[in-house]
């Protein structure tokens, strides 16, 4: 079966990376070695599809008997490498391999003018894709953490790809350090787990009651899970560590597409989804995840309202959508926990599945939006939407594909985003009904989610109208992008349009996904999804659906009337309270400013003080001692009188003192 060869999936791109890094320049054939990377990522894609087919047929690779090798063993712990494939892995493989391959193909056109540095670009992209595969295939948390960090490394290298640009070098550093703050939490959480459970293998950690059974107090278990989620806060750009992502736009747009759609930020969502069997043992941690997700979704959406950089709008929208995913995962988990105590219930996997579903759909429409934005930037040479406009005429393919992406993210049926976002909000609402002590919190979170839906529709169409309609505001001679760029756009647009139908094709996406937790959460909880067609009926009879649909439509219409019809001039809001609000949003709530000030004034300040302390106090004491001994040497020299009787006296007195000391302290006895 192909699933046994799944370990080759990450190996292909990594071989591509090694080829490009190590072979002589003349062997690179064409475009800095792009053919190797296209070939390798296509190989991974094909193999991924074969593995996914295996998974669809009910084969998985989850358990202690899956192939593994020891990486490191020292006394009481052993760290291994192995492969873990279940339904969640399958979805991730699909997303990473498909988006990764399309991005590489698209790069041929996009990076055409880059010259010598293309080689480095393709090498780093290949490594990026390879280590992301490694991350999703890992069968234990150490292996996952290793690839997790390598994913961070690759995004550091690629965000800072144009290293002569000061802003790029700075953004790359910021991305790495901020995510590393999250990684500290993740690492701490893992160490706690390793200490108590004695292993970081999924197969043991995911057993029922694994945390309590290890002798952990419930407080320690919750702490370890919150720390684990801390890694996702950094990686998936959740509040309050979300500010690195908008800055990460400094890399090539292809890199942004990869980071936002398939690799980097999806790793955090994957981590949370992967940890589900443990998370359901700690309801407080789940509530924490949902709350952070809800706050992130709302805050990022408000920031997107005023952004004028096309990539920043998309970046904020990513943060916001990631917040949705976390919200759904947290809410879904809480529902499961609640029902674990109260007996069985249908549709238990709904929150979990809707989070993953949204992640998959988001991967397609966000990759599409970024690549389309890249196509626009490629054509007009700027990111500034104020300088765009009227591009719809010259860039038909780009504008239509981007429209599909925007409709999808805005949640307009039948595009993919509608289905998953509706389920995300529905799960949140169910958590309000079911989650016991947290129910009020979830009502607020649901309202925040609906508000976010409104804003999403508004800012996406604000972007679309500003870019493609109206008068052309720059004199750049825009033209449609080459085929290698438009073909990936069209493929992604079709996916963004139809991937939502996975919801009710066959036995339905939710039923499929639920398998991945029902096998690990334990038989006591029946995680069964509702029949897809039945749930389809439920969607369109539920008032909740219409609520979210209406707010999206209103958002879209508002953007239409302001930015297309010009019914209302935004410049009228530039003063007074609304002006202040606008400034607050444009300044990103001063969060970024705060971090900079904190890092520069507090941390760097402390380090300067420490440096001075080191030089003048510690070293000063040493130099002072040296000075003292040379001075005292000069002083003691005077005692060397040369008169024998003085010396004899000194010897006698000294001898007596020594004797006294030995008598009093009985040296050697104590």
């Amino acid at each position: 079966m192909m699933i046994d060869y799944a370990w080759l999936i990450p190996v292909f791109p990594i071989i591509g990376f090694l080829i490009i890094s190590l072979v002589p320049k003349k062997w690179l054939i064409w475009e800095g070695g792009a053919p190797y990377i296209i070939g390798m990522s296509t190989a991974s894609f094909v193999l991924s599809i074969l593995v996914i087919i295996d998974v669809l047929n009910g084969h998985t690779l989850t358990g202690p008997d899956s192939p593994r090798m020891t990486w490191l063993s020292a006394g009481s712990f052993e760290l291994t490498f192995g492969i873990w494939i279940d339904q969640l892995t399958a979805v991730m493989l699909l997303v990473v391999s498909l988006v990764g391959t399309l991005v590489v193909i698209y790069s041929v056109g996009y990076m055409h003018g880059e010259g010598e540095t293309k080689r480095r670009y393709y090498a780093e992209i290949a490594l990026f894709i390879g280590v992301m595969f490694g991350l999703v295939l890992a069968d234990n948390f150490v292996e996952m953490f290793i690839f997790w960090e390598l994913v961070g490394l690759c995004s550091y290298l690629l965000i800072g790809f144009w290293k002569h640009k000061p802003s790029a070098a700075s953004a790359a550093k910021r991305a790495f350090i901020v995510t590393r703050v999250g990684d500290i939490m993740l690492l701490s959480g893992l160490i706690i787990l390793l200490r108590y459970v004695g292993t970081l293998d999924f197969s043991e950690l995911f057993a029922e009651g694994s945390l309590e059974g290890s002798g952990m107090s419930s407080g320690m278990a919750t702490l370890s899970m919150i720390l684990l989620f801390g890694g996702a806060i950094g990686k998936s750009a959740q509040f309050p560590l979300h500010e690195w992502l908008p800055d990460a736009m400094e890399g090539p747009t292809t890199v942004s597409a990869l980071i936002h759609a398939a690799t980097m930020v999806k790793a955090g969502v994957y981590l949370v989804a992967r940890s589900y069997p443990m998370l359901v043992q700690t309801p407080d941690a789940l509530a924490f995840i949902a709350i952070i997700g809800g706050i992130t979704a709302l805050i990022a959406a408000t920031n997107a309202l005023v952004a004028v950089d096309i990539k920043r709008v998309l970046a904020y929208s990513t943060i916001s959508q990631l917040g949705y995913m976390m919200l759904a995962l947290g809410a879904g988990g809480l529902i499961i926990t609640g029902l674990m105590h109260d007996g069985g219930h249908d549709g238990l996997g709904a929150g979990y599945s809707s989070g993953i579903f949204h992640m998959m759909n988001h991967a397609f429409f966000k990759a599409l939006l970024f690549l389309a934005a890249g196509s626009v930037i490629h054509a007009v040479g700027t990111n500034d939407m104020l300088k765009m406009g009227g591009l719809g005429k010259t860039m038909k393919i780009t504008s239509i594909t981007m429209l599909i992406g925007s409709l999808s993210i805005a949640g307009i049926p039948p595009f993919s985003g509608f289905w998953s976002k509706d389920e995300v909000l529905a799960s949140t609402f169910h958590a309000f009904e079911d989650a016991g002590s947290y129910s009020t919190v979830f009502l607020i979170l649901w309202i925040m989610g609906v508000a976010t839906a409104f804003m999403t529709a508004f800012y996406m169409f604000r972007m679309w109208f500003m870019t493609f309609t109206g008068k052309q505001r720059s004199d750049a001679h825009a033209h449609e992008s080459p085929v290698s760029m438009t073909v990936p756009l069209m493929i992604l647009a079709s996916l963004a349009a139809v991937s939502g139908f996975a919801f009710f094709i066959g036995r339905g996406f939710f039923s499929f996904m639920s398998d991945s937790i029902s096998s690990t959460i334990g038989s006591s909880v029946a995680v069964e999804a509702i029949h897809p067609l039945e749930s389809l009926g439920e969607i369109f009879t539920s008032p909740l659906t219409y609520a979210s649909l209406i707010v999206s439509a209103v958002g879209l219409f508002t953007a239409y009337s302001i930015y297309y019809k010009g019914a209302f001039s935004v410049s009228r809001l530039a003063s007074g309270v609304t002006g202040k609000l606008q400034k607050l949003l444009a300044e990103r709530y001063y969060i970024s400013w705060f971090y900079d000030a904190f890092a520069y004034n507090i941390i760097y300040g402390i380090s300067l003080v420490a440096d001075i302390f080191d030089r003048y106090v510690i070293d000063g004491a040493i130099n002072g001692m040296a000075w003292l001994s040379s001075k005292s040497g000069a002083f003691i020299r005077r005692s060397q009188t040369g008169q024998v009787q003085n010396y004899v006296a000194a010897i006698v007195i000294g001898g007596c003192l020594l004797l006294l000391f030995l008598i009093v302290f009985e040296w050697g006895e104590w």
Partner: protein, 511 residues
């Protein structure tokens, strides 16, 4: 296949006094270099050969080393490749050498770092005979320290190391070399004397007739608690200065700033390890009660060193001084690992020493290349240098990433194990030292951003800057390959370290 390699290597080495050869071959080399006359190329080739042959032996030793079965007995039971020759029978002094898992990794990096330092110093033309001769002499001393099993001879070799380093800094150093070299000498010499006093106290208190470490180690079980605490305190000071630990670290940045690159590589890569090695070879197994009494102090010193030095790194403007302080921070991990007095912690501490030796050598070499080619190492004067020196920028990035503990490179496994051991012993105190993970990333990446990336600087003449030469690139490339190898397969070393640690723990009655 591995067993085949092991028996093959054992066959090759059988009957040879491997360790004595490894100690004295560089001495012959040093003498030949002094006699070699004025030809630069002859001097270099002799130096490379006489540091290279021990390197080949060291690689063979890694293969030939037996591990996995713990021999019965007390500390230092069955050191491998053991040799013993009587020297001063009346005092019970003999020349005894042997290795276990703790010596092995350090014994491997000793000829390795010497070899690459000599290669890196290919163009040193100022008094080359003395320069290369002293480097070889230092190899003699350091190799001896890591394999000798007799306290008195150990001390002699310990002191031998100081002299070449003193001259390397004092003759080939920077503008402030006199101050730095004397400070280095006095500071570490005072530490050595305190260590000697403690060793003497152990010798006399044991009523021993031998200086053999193994036999003294056996006798040590009769020591009183009070004596153990005092003697351990003295050894802790002696070795702590050497490592160096805050607050006795200030000789290190001064010495590094002035030392020539090869001197820095050997100083940070090997000489600092002598402190950590002494702690785990001499102090902890011989004075176990003292160790467990003072373990909290060691932990505090270690954690303070980790964080304090990392914070000071952030303020440095001189690349090399920053790297020097980062050594203090990393050696703090060694101290904390040992302070746990647990299997994982001690294995981790030894592995950190090994990893740091490889990584810090690359870092000092990159600083040396920058100094050499740009005429300055001051970060504010640099900027955008990667445009002129892409190869150097790659090596520096790789070195920095390795040093900040990126998985896949050698330091990660070491730090991970240390953190685990800290949590295992002291619970959530882990959250304090683990902060260094972010601070370390901060100072490295910030330095990289300011010196290598961004627009090309106009504060220095950049017209004639060219990339690293072959003899500068090759050593860094070799080391980075090893950093990746041991990062991907840390078990190669960690498995071999384990037995020795088990024996030490058995001696101190712990896990």
């Amino acid at each position: 296949m591995l067993e085949g390699a092991q028996s093959f290597a054992q066959d090759l080495l059988s009957g040879l006094p491997v360790l004595s050869i490894m100690i004295f071959l560089p001495l012959i080399g040093a003498i030949l270099v002094f006699l070699a006359g004025r030809s630069m190329s002859i001097i270099r080739v002799i130096s490379l050969i006489f540091s290279g042959i021990p390197l080949i032996f060291a690689v063979l030793l890694i293969f030939a080393f037996s591990w996995g079965a713990i021999p019965d007995g007390e500390a230092f039971a069955d050191p491998q490749f053991y040799e013993e020759y009587e020297w001063i029978p009346s005092l019970g002094v003999s020349f005894a050498v042997g290795i276990d898992g703790i010596s092995l990794p350090l014994l491997f990096i000793t000829p390795l770092l010497t070899f690459v330092s000599i290669l890196f110093s290919w163009d040193v033309d100022r008094r080359p005979r003395e320069y290369f001769g002293l480097i070889l002499l230092m190899q003699v001393g350091v190799t001896g320290v890591f394999v000798l099993l007799d306290y008195l001879v150990f001390y002699i070799f310990w002191e031998i190391v100081l002299i070449p380093m003193y001259f390397l800094i004092g003759i080939w150093g920077g503008p402030n070399k006199d101050y730095a070299s004397i400070k280095f000498f006095i500071y570490t010499h005072v530490a050595s004397l305190v260590m000697l006093l403690a060793i003497m106290a152990i010798y006399f208190n044991a009523g021993a007739t031998t200086f053999n470490m193994m036999e003294l180690g056996d006798a040590a079980s009769g020591f009183t608690r009070g004596f153990q605490i005092i003697a351990f305190g003295a050894l802790l000071f002696g070795f702590g200065v050497k490592m160096p630990m805050v607050p006795f670290h200030t000789w290190l940045p001064d010495a590094h700033v002035e030392a020539p690159t090869a001197g820095s590589v050997l100083l940070a890569g090997l000489l600092l390890k002598m402190g950590g090695y002494g702690l785990i070879r001499v102090a902890i197994p011989t004075l176990p009660e003292g160790a467990s009494y003072l373990a909290p102090l060691m932990a505090v010193i270690g954690i303070v060193s980790i964080l304090y030095a990392a914070v000071v790194c952030l303020a440095q403007k001189d690349l090399k001084k920053m790297v020097a302080y980062s050594s203090v921070s990393h050696m703090g991990f060694v101290m904390v690992g040992f302070a746990t007095l647990s299997y994982v912690g001690i294995v981790a501490g030894v592995f950190v020493m090994f990893a740091h030796g490889l990584v810090t050598a690359v870092l000092f070499m990159t600083c040396g290349v920058v100094q050499h080619h740009c005429g300055t190492r001051m970060i504010p004067k640099l900027g955008g240098i990667s445009e002129k020196m892409p190869k150097l920028a790659t090596y520096m990035t790789a070195g920095f990433l390795a040093s900040l503990g990126l998985p896949g490179l050698v330091m990660f496994a070491a730090e991970f194990m240390t953190f685990w051991a800290i949590f295992n012993n002291w619970g959530l105190w882990l959250l304090v030292p683990i902060l260094s993970v972010a601070i370390t990333a901060g100072y490295y990446l910030w330095a990289l951003q300011r010196s290598m990336f961004g627009p090309l600087t106009d504060k220095i003449e950049t017209e004639n800057i060219h990339d690293a030469n072959w003899y500068e690139s090759a050593p860094m490339a070799i080391l980075i390959a090893l950093i990746a190898l041991f990062g991907i397969l840390p078990a190669i070393m960690i498995d071999r370290i384990g037995d020795a640690v088990t024996i030490i723990l058995r001696a101190i009655g712990g896990g």
